[in-house]
């Protein structure tokens, strides 16, 4: 009964059909996925506010 109700609430597959990835940070993960022909973008990330966490926290309050 409980199981059935749970099954009835089936949702869309969480990960979708094909993974389309964005890699933020270490580049080799992006390069490995490219070699596997996975659709992947890379973000060449920079720390916000030059790495200042206090200013970043304040910024996030406003943005």
């Amino acid at each position: 009964m409980k199981k059935d109700r749970h099954l009835a609430e089936r949702k869309k597959p969480c990960f979708g059909k094909d993974l389309v990835v964005v890699n933020i940070g270490i580049r080799p993960f992006y390069e490995d996925l490219k070699k596997l022909n996975v659709k992947v973008s890379h973000v060449d990330w920079e720390p916000p506010a030059g790495g200042d966490q206090e200013v970043t926290a304040l910024l996030d309050k406003i943005l």
Binding site: L7, P13, F15, G16, V21, G25, F29, V43, D44, D60
Partner: protein, 521 residues
């Protein structure tokens, strides 16, 4: 004068590109004349004017590249052809890749179908970026560690609101929709799904399943802290939901160190509602509690893998301590111990995978007794001086202490190589215990890279009149980018005993230590 005509069928390049190749190859020594052009009607006329003829040219079409070379010798023709080939197939320089951006927003704007993010930036900013990704509807593999626990809880709650999962923080491995992410292995697809709070634990189980003929639907990571009572297993619960809802998955495997007591009950209650067959390995947990919920328990990673495969095949699982025959085992044991000196009694585990190190310690604890470590099972067994081993000891060289500002031992052999040699210098050491982890992201030839250190260490001990046993397991599959069989071979060539799993390697190391102490026959 020699002439050669090569037609590259069905390869279009624009005329400017080919002109550049023309110019650059014409200037090679010994080249008398050259033509590199698409086989259009007009171009073929030009080629004839320059003095090249032949049926291949006539039958070439505008979709083919026509290459004609006249040079003073065959060698020069070969050289020119090699250069032309290189220029035709030259990969674009990294900066020319079109899908590199400065912000997540831009990446998603340019590729709106993006549905997954891998985040590996410094921990203090990782949650911020994760929130951005979740707000864009992405699932996240959060590789970063040093994320404050409050932020972990925050992002997991946010993920739940969006019906998404955050795998991490400190999650190094996952296989999603058959795509290996982070440090992951290439495995056969199949109906076994996993949720793991333990990176190399996941890798070991997944590889053993693959090598035993099973296949993986999804391998979901949760990060090492997910099952603490503070976080409450938010990602593992979501992972379970995903697998329950996944048509491909028939068998569910959960792997972790023992969760917090409240979380354990939460997970087990949830598991009991699953329509799928569930096998749990909460490494070092009390098995009775788990089986009291009607769940199958795997006591080691290996057992967990074999239980899953057995369930898949509809077979009964029979536990064996070793896959090798008793005879073979006895033979190897004799070989490994007969030249040892009596004072060689200790096991030193040098690990790149934290979970594998944990598993080894649990197994050794049951056979040889207390094992010291930088990630000890009990506080009193904490290794004080991390520069060298003490008594029986297993060191996780992937722990923060060793990797701050230095590459991880799964990527670089340097730190382990050094320890292999220095532990070999300790006259009380009988056996070294190693893990070699393959897969994407890992070193391309770790076994080869460690060979020298192993040889040197063994030779030093031999000089002193003793014998250093080295036991290892290779965590990998036949499809991994590294060559699995040659990794095993590389190790065996320098006298390493390679066991089919970490559990067996630990057990065998224990046998060696015990035999040399005359505790067993």
């Amino acid at each position: 004068m020699e002439t050669r005509i090569v037609i590259k069928k069905n390869q279009y390049r624009d005329s400017v590109f080919l002109m550049v190749i023309n110019e650059q190859t014409r200037s090679l020594p010994g080249i008398n004349e050259i033509a590199v052009m698409m086989g259009t009607v007009n171009n073929k006329d030009i080629i004839k004017e320059v003095g090249f003829f032949g049926p291949e040219i006539d039958s070439a079409t505008s979709k083919d590249i026509v290459i004609c070379i006249r040079a003073t010798s065959e060698e020069e023709i070969e050289r020119a052809l090699a250069q032309i080939d290189e220029m035709l197939t030259r990969k674009r320089r990294p900066e020319e890749l079109e899908d590199v951006y400065k912000t997540l927003e831009s990446a998603i704007r340019e590729r709106p179908e993006t549905n997954f993010a891998i985040i590996s930036i410094p921990g203090q900013f990782a949650a911020r970026e994760t929130k951005k990704a979740l707000n864009h509807g992405l699932n996240v593999l959060l590789f970063s560690d040093n994320v404050p626990i409050e932020e972990e809880i925050e992002i997991k709650k946010l993920a739940a609101q969006f019906d998404r999962i955050v795998m991490g923080p400190d999650c190094g491995t996952a296989i999603i929709n058959h795509v290996p992410l982070g440090f992951a292995n290439a495995v056969n697809p199949g109906p076994i799904g996993l949720v793991a709070a333990a990176g190399t634990g996941l890798q070991e189980v997944v590889c053993l399943i693959d090598r035993a003929g099973g296949g993986i639907s999804q391998a979901i990571g949760t990060g090492g802290r997910d099952l603490s009572d503070k976080v409450g297993g938010l990602s593992m619960l979501k992972g379970l939901d995903i697998l329950d809802n996944d048509d491909e998955t028939e068998i569910v495997v959960l792997i972790s160190k023992p969760p917090g007591p409240t979380t354990t009950k939460k997970i087990l209650k949830r598991v009991s509602k699953s329509p799928k067959k569930v096998i749990i390995n909460f490494l070092g947990s009390n098995p009775e509690l788990i089986s009291s919920f009607g769940v199958t328990v795997g006591q080691t990673l290996e057992e967990t893998a074999f239980l899953a495969v057995a369930a898949l095949k509809g077979e009964q699982y029979q536990h064996r301590n070793f896959s090798t025959s008793e005879e073979e085992l006895k033979r190897r044991l004799k070989e490994e111990t007969e030249r040892m000196t009596p004072n060689q009694k200790f096991i030193r585990g040098l690990y790149s995978g934290g979970t594998l190190c944990d598993e080894a310690m649990l197994i050794l604890n049951d056979s040889v007794g207390e094992v010291y470590s930088n990630i000890p099972l009990k506080p009193k067994l904490r290794l004080q001086d991390l520069s060298k081993g003490q008594n029986h000891c297993c060191i996780d060289l992937g722990d923060d202490y060793f990797t701050r500002g230095r590459p991880h031992p799964m990527i670089s052999p340097d730190s382990r190589g050094r320890y292999i040699i220095s532990e070999g210098e300790d006259p009380q050491v009988a056996v070294l215990l190693l893990d070699i982890v393959l897969g994407y992201g890992a070193h391309m030839d770790m076994a080869g890279a460690l060979r020298e250190s192993i040889k040197v260490a063994k030779a030093e001990v031999e000089k002193r009149g003793g014998y250093l046993a080295v036991v290892a397991s290779v965590c990998g599959t036949m499809k991994d980018p590294q060559d699995f069989p040659s990794q095993v071979q590389n190790l065996e060539d320098v006298g390493v005993v390679v066991m089919p799993s970490n559990a067996q390697a630990a057990r065998f190391a224990a046998m060696i230590a015990l035999k040399n102490n005359n505790r067993i026959g």
